[in-house]
Symmetry: C2
DNA sequence: CCAGCAACTGAGAATGATTCTCATGTTCAG
DNA sequence: CTGAACATGAGAATCATTCTCAGTTGCTGG
């Protein structure tokens, strides 16, 4: 299955590095732009490839927005979900042990296996709500 | 804001009708193909427009798959979530009062308002699991 | 230290889903 | 019935993402 021996390249390190230095979610294109801005020339295709690889390995978080964009972020430890402000994009990590349990149990009740789930909460954070009211 | 007076057209009815006659989730293109198959000539753009309108009105369910496709289905009554087989696409509706409560409470704890959420469980149904094993 | 090859890269083309354009067709009020 | 606003649809345009493939490079055996 795993025929390839992954090589360590400057580009892959650049991607990992920039992810490690920021805590926000950005699209592949966003990270690509950030890399260019800091002077690391890495091709867009490579950014996509690396991000996907890291995501598959579970080393970074993936979030799919309503507009169909996929955003990535350095993964803090463990499995968790997100509370995202739909106005400013601020993200809060939430633990959801109860939800995990519920998802697994529910799926099992219907005979489903190899279960995975998506749980994201979108809303408006206090700051944006105040701004909107102003 | 609502400058337009929505008119009732043959095309819109065709879309609503076919949705009402099926219970599965399909992509806009899938519904478009189904319409053509039954002899209702409706443009793809119109299918997209109508589906989006119905979704905005909350009259149909929307589901975004991992591959980035958006699927639609006639909405049964009430709010609920889905358990989707990643192989055959079979969908089971699950009630999740607990999860609703959790989402609302969690969001409120962080000062978020106007909360909305996405909860989907993906897995492999018993039938597909058996087929894969065979 | 060097050769050689497989894995990696990147520019741009290709893809696939969705949205937009705008000339033409329809619905509905009067 | 008539006009005009709204809807439609064919195809072009977008947008994010993936693919292609020739050129580059990390790594391992010699």
């Amino acid at each position: 299955m795993s025929s390839g021996v992954r090589r360590l390249t400057r580009q892959q390190q650049a991607v990992s590095d920039i992810l490690a230095r920021h805590t926000d979610f950005r699209s592949a294109q966003g990270w690509h732009a950030a890399l260019l801005a800091q002077g690391s020339a890495v091709g867009l295709a490579t950014v996509y490839r690396t991000l996907q690889f890291l995501a598959d390995e579970g080393r970074i978080d993936v979030l799919r927005t309503d507009s169909g964009e996929t955003r990535y972020r350095a993964c803090s430890v463990g499995h968790h979900h997100h509370l995202v402000c739909r106005d400013c994009g601020r993200t809060v990590e939430v633990d959801a042990a109860d939800v995990e349990r519920w998802a697994t149990t529910t799926a099992a009740a219907y005979g489903f296996t190899a279960v995975d789930h998506t749980v994201e909460i979108f809303g408006r954070c206090a700051t944006c709500a105040a701004a909107a009211r102003g």
